[in-house]
């Protein structure tokens, strides 16, 4: 019961943050010219409509035979729907209502999103991002697992062997992860993979692995629907019409019960595909983990150091508890609280790196959708703002989960 009250209290604290982010987005949207606002909301104008999203147009286009300029009825109707003809505060409430009810606009035709995800043409942003979300969640979960599996033992090791070579080494390694640009590291890893793939295995155009009639489909600097690391495989030259993607990719399954690529592959009994998807996730997850392990490692080490100096540790040692048990049971368990607290911070930190990592490794997540939507030459503001709100939801809900976990571990929090 106490727990429930606690969770509700935390939820009540989260809502203002979400509304605040929506407010920022609202301010940014209103800084845009009306044309971009309309495109963000309703997609590109009908190419056959000469009046397009213009406020006025020649009367002859609406009332044949008339002369002069008339107000464009389409423009009037759409701006009214968006609240653009009303005062700012009313427009604000209209926007907040739209944002909370997942009316995030339409994927426009202008951007690189269009070139990469042709199926997304004129779809609602929510639907489009919803299809990208599971991949992002899978990557985040895997990264988190790797970070925890490395940071906690290494931090404890560093605290136990304070200022010895192993401590310094772990600090330097984690620092270096913080200092290497993730796109550089990711590309370097990819380069190694390609090098192995093409040079040592003998996988090239002359000696293909592919069955006859199919050709090697390799990374080509372009993006395609479900391209993921390494974007190479056998390709019959035809796209499957139903899903509009090459048949060798895992997203070309008949149905997606959950949308999570790995899970769906196993669900359909496609074990090799599932394994393949999982393997494709591991390298980006490792790069993400390497980049953001430093903070958590530092906190684990410091909190472990603090705990190790407490009296009950000395007591445990004095009464003859083996050192390994002192570290794992007495100290380790109690230094976990700090770890859990910092976890939320870490999560927000590495989620920010997702646009880059997903772009480098060609994973179709929300981050990559954002990157494609924000390419100069064709901004897709519906997708841009939608993914901003979606990322906020992700971070906020991760923090909520962390807080609840923290309260579960430490009774003082939920009772206090």
């Amino acid at each position: 019961m106490r727990m429930l009250v606690y969770v509700i209290r935390r939820l009540a604290l989260i809502v203002p943050v979400v509304i605040g982010v929506m407010t920022i987005v609202f301010v940014l949207i209103n800084a845009l010219p009306v044309y971009y606002q309309l495109v963000a909301a309703y997609g590109n104008p009908n190419p056959h409509d000469p009046c397009s999203y213009n406020p006025t147009c020649p009367c002859g286009e609406i009332y044949p035979g008339e002369k002069g300029t008339c107000p464009n009825p389409v423009y009037v109707r759409l701006t009214h729907l968006l609240g653009l003809d009303r005062p700012v505060y009313e427009r604000y409430f209209v926007y907040i209502y739209h944002a909370f009810t997942f009316q995030w606009g339409t994927v426009a035709n202008v951007s690189a999103v269009q070139a990469s995800y042709s199926f997304a043409r004129d779809q609602p942003v929510t639907k489009f991002l919803g299809e990208m979300l599971p991949s992002t969640i899978e990557l985040a979960a895997l990264s988190l697992i790797i970070i925890l599996a490395i940071a906690i033992p290494l931090g404890n090791l560093g605290a136990v062997n304070r200022n010895r070579p192993i401590d310094q080494a772990s600090r330097i390694v984690s620092f270096s992860g913080y200092a290497i640009p993730p796109f550089l590291l990711g590309s370097f890893v990819l380069m190694g993979v390609y090098y192995l793939l093409y040079s040592h295995v003998g996988f090239d155009v002359h000696t293909p692995w592919c069955p006859s009639g199919e050709v090697l489909y390799a990374f080509n600097g372009q993006s395609e629907l479900t391209g993921s690391w390494p974007a190479a495989g056998c390709y019959s030259g035809q796209l499957s019409i139903a899903t509009n993607c090459p048949t060798w990719l895992s997203n070309c399954l008949v149905s997606h019960p959950t949308g999570f690529p790995t899970y769906d592959a196993f669900y359909h009994g496609q074990y090799w595909l599932g394994l393949d998807t999982l393997i494709r996730l591991i390298l980006p997850a490792l790069v993400v983990a390497y980049g953001s392990i430093a903070i958590l490692l530092r906190f684990v080490r410091n909190s472990m150091l603090e705990v190790m100096n407490l009296d009950y540790i000395r007591t445990a040692r004095a009464k003859g508890v083996p050192e390994s048990r002192v570290i794992s049971k007495h100290a380790g368990r109690n230094s976990m609280n700090v770890t859990v607290t910092v976890l939320g911070l870490t999560f927000a930190g590495f989620l920010g790196g997702f646009p880059i990592i997903e772009d480098v490794f060609y994973l179709n997540g929300v981050g990559r959708a954002l990157v494609l939507a924000a390419q100069p030459g064709g901004f897709d503001f519906g997708v841009i703002f939608g993914s901003t709100i979606l990322f906020t939801y992700l971070i906020v809900s991760a923090n909520l989960i962390v807080d609840v976990l923290y309260a579960y571990l430490d009774p003082r929090v939920r009772l206090g």
């Binding site: 605040g20 200092a179 290497i180 640009p181 796109f183 370097f188 920010g352």
Partner: protein
């Protein structure tokens, strides 16, 4: 001969005759004393000093250094077996064959080509390799790169101790010499990092001081604002902000920025470049203040309860005087730590933005080359490498990734080590 340290004196600074240093100077000396004993921090400081010296040297003595080598220059390749040529074909182990006149189908990059034994010389012109007997027909369609060489005869563009970096757009290929590019980029890296983080930190400082000092409703409102800003990932926010600004700013000319051309380091920065540069810096600064505000507020909350603030109030000091004379100087230390930490991440962030394709949108990187940008460009060429690989000819341009990456890495690591040392020196609990 160093004097013996008086164990009762916390500072460890030897006593001098005459006036006692003011408490703040004493604290600085104390910090420096503890910092000096931290080997890693000193290593970081050393690297930073070297970087600063290089930047100063480049700005003063090499203002017109040329680092973009226009494709009109031809580089002669002395045959595939000559290691100076920077060629290697990994699949056979031997130096590789040149590819000739291949055709590609519309299915992406399915190409057929024939391989002929190479003659002794090939030329790099206009971003492509030409072989003398075949002239226009015999070219490889991906731009090749030249590895580190100090052989002056190899390249007309001068020695390339760190190799070259090629950047191919749709029609043309630029050809960058990495060593002068790194020299040229050093001062821009420092200037952009410090100014971006500096603006953000200053804004954050004032917001934090106001929130912490006045408390109450102001504090609550500002801190909720900080919470909101902190719940958007920083790079995502920058992307969004830059996307919006680059649409909006183009229609709204900002009068103060229409300055006359400004000359720096051989470049004339035309007014058209000012607006995007300032927008970029302001965009960065707009997302950088919340963390500082939170840090400073926490510090101010403890400082404002001190006796000397009370004394100042009792002696009739106004709020402004208390803020600027007492509160800010005494709560600025965490800002220094975070500042030194953040400065190192700016090249990484700019590099990420350039990697994502914002170089044209807002950052005119052609004119403001800095290390992150170079690192991002090297990755662009990596993608060409992958293409070359899929064509059956792997040339790994390791130098392109390694040297710009090393510059960014050393910068970030050195400020990291320094700020870690600062943290240890300023936090009595960790000091031992």
């Amino acid at each position: 001969m160093a004097e013996a340290v008086d164990p009762s004196q916390v500072s460890g600074v030897p006593k001098r005759l005459g006036r006692r240093p003011s408490p703040r100077i004493a604290q600085l000396k104390r910090t420096w004393y503890f910092l000096r004993r931290n080997t890693l921090a000193m290593v970081g400081l050393g690297i930073l000093v070297v970087i600063g010296a290089v930047a100063l040297y480049a700005a003063v003595f090499l203002p017109n250094i040329s680092w973009v080598q226009m494709p009109v220059m031809c580089a002669t390749d002395y045959g595939p077996d000559n290691p100076l040529s920077g060629w290697s074909n990994s699949s056979t182990g031997a130096n590789g064959p040149f590819t000739l006149a291949y055709t590609c189908t519309n299915v992406p990059y399915v190409c057929t080509y024939e391989v002929v034994p190479p003659p002794n010389a090939a030329q790099f012109c206009g971003g492509q390799w030409y072989k003398t007997p075949y002239s226009a027909q015999s070219f490889v369609s991906y731009p090749s790169a030249i590895g580190p060489t100090i052989n002056l005869a190899t390249l007309k563009g001068g020695p390339m101790p760190l190799g070259s970096l090629t950047l191919s757009a749709e029609s043309s290929t630029s050809f960058y010499n990495i060593w002068p590019a790194l020299l040229r980029g050093s001062d821009w890296s420092l200037i952009m990092s410090v100014s971006i983080v500096g603006i953000g930190a200053t804004v954050g400082l004032f917001v934090g001081v106001v929130a912490g000092y006045y408390g109450g409703v102001i504090d609550d409102a500002l801190m909720r604002l900080v919470d909101i800003f902190l719940s958007i990932p920083i790079i995502l926010f920058i992307i969004v902000l830059i996307a919006v600004l680059s649409v909006t700013v183009r229609s709204v000319a900002i009068p103060p920025f229409t300055l006359a051309g400004w000359h720096y380091a051989g470049y004339t920065i035309v007014p058209e470049l000012w607006t995007p540069l300032f927008t970029a810096i302001l965009g960065f600064a707009a997302v950088w203040w919340p963390l500082y505000a939170r840090l400073v507020r926490a510090q101010v909350l403890t400082v404002r309860e001190q006796k000397y603030i009370e004394a100042a109030k009792a002696s009739g000091a106004r709020n402004g005087r208390i803020l600027f004379k007492h509160i800010i100087p005494n709560s600025v230390y965490p800002v220094f730590i975070q500042f030194s930490l953040d400065v190192g991440t700016v090249p990484l962030l700019i590099g990420a933005l350039v990697y994502l394709g914002f170089s044209q949108a807002l950052l005119p990187t052609e004119y403001f080359p800095e290390w992150g940008t170079l690192a991002a460009w090297s990755v662009y060429d990596m993608q060409t490498f992958v293409l070359s690989c899929s064509l059956g000819l792997c040339v790994i341009p390791w130098w392109q990734l390694f040297f710009p990456g090393l510059a960014v890495f050393l910068f970030a690591v050195s400020v990291n080590l320094l700020s870690d040392g600062l943290r240890d020196a300023l936090d009595p609990r960790l000091r031992r």
